[in-house]
Symmetry: D2
């Protein structure tokens, strides 16, 4: 039985010490510490780790951290949405995203050709340069073959990038598949459409990729889901581990609540209904902004795995 302990700051405190203290503070800090422990368990028990995130996290600086985690073998399968693919490519090609506030004058921004995602800004120029780039990529891919499973399509682009901090680059290099079931939901959808107008035999095949994600793991393997944010990417990873017997470990980090019945707010209690997760200590649901909570929890896990010699 654990008890609440008075938290005290010590000069030079590192992130792991803070997270260790969290377990005796209360409310969401306890869940965050639990999340950190589940990350360690996933790795120790050789679970295949499904890392899912929404595209606004790639807009943010978490993008480089995801790339690092792939390199460190902390993610075996990625599930995300189109914005993530697009913005990772943009950044790999040197585009800069500005930091602003949540209360900008949106009419003025529009006049300046600037687009806002929360407190971050992307210019129209960035999108235009991306368009040129995509056309180039599409031509190269089309030369190779006409019908692409989505994850193969993404991998092929990853191999053309040259950026250590790129998710697509690291994933391609480390044989980590990236699944993106709604590939047309972005500017990329428009470029694909224009390309297909000229090349009607060019096919993006989402059905084939459902097989690929299913075969990326098996009933016998341990499986873990790290779902950052909600929506499609979270749902898809849960669905695909479920069809392989369910996840053994699950960490959900989100700002959504379970009271609306949405997948974004669904908790890891649900995970227990999948039939594999038996133990309260193998799941955690952390309510809070992922840009704050995920780095802390994951850093503490990485430090521990490093200390135990379990990190590449």
């Amino acid at each position: 039985m654990a008890f609440v302990k008075d938290f005290k700051w010590k000069h030079g405190m590192n992130v792991k010490e803070l997270v260790d203290s969290y377990q005796n503070i209360g409310f969401q800090s306890i869940e965050l510490k639990k999340a950190s422990e589940v990350f360690v368990k996933m790795k120790k028990n050789n679970a295949k780790i499904f890392l899912t995130f929404t595209s606004n996290m790639v807009t943010s600086g978490l993008r480089g951290f995801f790339a690092q985690l792939i390199k460190l073998k902390m993610a075996d399968v990625i599930v995300t949405t189109t914005g993530s693919i697009e913005e990772d490519i943009m950044k790999a090609n040197g585009e800069k995203f500005k930091i602003a506030t949540f209360n900008e004058d949106d009419v003025e921004l529009h006049e300046q050709g600037v687009n806002r995602i929360g407190n971050l800004l992307l210019t129209n120029e960035t999108y235009m340069r991306f368009e040129d780039l995509m056309l180039e990529y599409l031509n190269k891919l089309y030369e190779k073959k006409k019908r692409w499973a989505i994850s193969d399509f993404i991998k092929e682009i990853g191999l053309m990038l040259n950026d250590e901090d790129s998710i697509l680059y690291q994933a391609a290099k480390n044989n980590v598949p990236i699944f993106c079931p709604a590939i047309t939901d972005g500017g990329l959808g428009f470029h694909l459409y224009l390309f297909q107008q000229k090349h009607p035999d060019f096919i993006i095949d989402p059905v084939q990729d459902f097989g690929n994600i299913l075969l990326s793991t098996s009933q016998d393997e341990n499986k873990g889901v790290i779902a950052l944010g909600g929506g499609l990417s979270k749902h898809h990873a849960i669905l695909c581990t479920l069809l392989n017997g369910g996840a053994n470990y699950a960490v959900y980090m989100t700002t959504a609540h379970k009271t609306s019945g949405s997948v974004s707010g669904a908790t890891t209690n649900e995970a227990k209904s999948w039939g594999k997760v038996k133990d309260e200590s193998d799941v955690a649901t952390v309510i809070g902004d992922v840009t704050i909570t995920f780095p802390i929890a994951m850093i503490a896990a990485l430090e521990q795995l490093k200390e135990e010699g379990l990190l590449k």
Copy 2:
């Protein structure tokens, strides 16, 4: 300049009278009344109405209301996720969804073969009967042609249903396209995959559908977006109206907040940055559970349109 007015109940009060009162109460009630007015404006100004919703709303009893709205010509384009397609078909085939609470014993539910979505329950039997049904549909569709744009695929199924309360049925009958860019994200994805294993030339083409949604409206037309919940369906509708010059009217109803930078929490202020929406009175963002807020706001709009003879 409007002022706060003391609200008073009158015996026999109807929904429209309540919503009329809302504009002088305060906080979200004011936004809800505004949403209702924007619904009326969309219709009066012949806007093409994009109605988007997440699949948990089709799990709920809003499903029949969406079907009714299509019949009443209050929705011209539908954007949603796979769960919506699946559960609409299930219901059209007589499946019943039970009502429970948010605090069920999930381990016990699992043992009983019952799946929980918030406070609603679906049984495994329902999913199994759906599987048989899908195989039948897939065989029929495959006989017609091998390569399907997603919205055509959905329409063809709609034509095989026979349920006035079905979204797919009413949409097919009323020539309202249903777009579902992540069609594989559900049990349906698995059935498609199994089918394609036997019939490798069976192709689901999401790229072709991007053209279809773009061509479903034009730069010259007035456009309105009603986004219920967030995620993929909201994003896709905004993206596609944006590529046609932006929406003139927008109502977002959601439980998410703008502080996380997610698309689910993005407000209609953003809509002003699209460049077409100039007037504060043409957009509304209502924070709250859609199962409560949407029926009230839409009923008040329907009553007014009916009174003015603008409803079929």
Copy 3:
């Protein structure tokens, strides 16, 4: 066992019909219908009803509804915060509150002497006229006696008002005590302080009022709590019913969630731990903006009580 039913709009639909439909829609709509039923039960079983609300609801037009509910004998004890007392008095003296948006230019508002509460506005003039008024009231009260329990102090002011829509007026007329344990937390605190500087024997006694609220009900009586919003007023009502054996009925309506461990987000499940509430059907927690959810749920209850001849 209840099932989800397809919702359908019927022309002329009244609020009670809508709320009856809510029970078969899903998610928070089900909780709202349950809340409405618990309101009816409270009244049918002669429960002493504790109605609590935060001051922003008195800023809003719900103020007149609260006054009406007191008149209709739907509230036996009121618990609230100082802002409610102040703004009810302001409105009883003819002050008007303007409606704006959530995104005003706050620096500009300040320069104009205007104060913002969400999307509602109060002017500095309103506060200044209130100050003059309070001085007048304080002089009269001081003449009567020197030491005041807070609820007696509030009642005495209520007797000096003359506004059917005033909470203080209706409460005073109907012998409904208003408890406000943090009476100094507002401009009123400043006026009381200035007055006490001149009259050091003038005493506001919160301790005496704790006795008054305890004695406002008994162990033997049925008790119900309607908590709108969270914080002090919700906590105080729960505490005081708890000391009298616990509430038999409880409805919480709030935008806060249980995940932060705050009283504002505490659910009615907790109420079961009070020991009196045994039945799931006697409690409801509705997540959503009270300006929307409370009128709907309460109107449906009033209509039913009216039909059954149980309303004055």
Copy 4:
């Protein structure tokens, strides 16, 4: 102009390094870094710091951190609610609070005499021992004088405690007043009431304390508000700095949103309407669970102040 930067973990990373990285990640992480900077500014510019928190934070292990901050001269005025006072005294007398989950069986807990606050537990025995203790304290205080301003009453109890980790103890020792305008809102209210029944001349005077909090600072001094959570304590601190010309610095950390018009969700943009805060860089609103966000942000500030020799 700042830009998004890819975040990377480095082995042994300390809390300050993490928070420095936050400023280039995005969304709430940027606000958290800003909060940390505002804490530093408050101290550097000799602002009188008003630290406010809700009682659930004293239930949590943040209690010891608050005591440490008082000792480190990072808080000059405390505003809180009764639960904080009670639980700080309980802990100073050796009571232990257990850690559980958010999903306990509340009926069972009740049978065991256990009370739940989120995922933390207090036993009835703890409350009973507190009652005995309070009677002892009240007798001692009554011997000293009959009429007490609330903050003097709390200070006198603080002087009787002997626990370095106690908020009341450190506040009393360091001449930091603790304001608690709703002192009767807790078990303490009941004990005060019983005591007053025997000693009718025993008076708790909230009005006198309004003067005390006003005089705790002046128009000329720089003032800062750190509001953790919402409700009464946040409102009272803002009100009292406002009456002294407004705060120069403000950090709000909360899980509430501005869309409901509640004080808990009110942002620091509002602070700009107070007239003193001119600069965007002097305010921050961090949405998230305070048990996670406050330690990180404050630790980073303490490290920096320490490095610059500005910390005792």
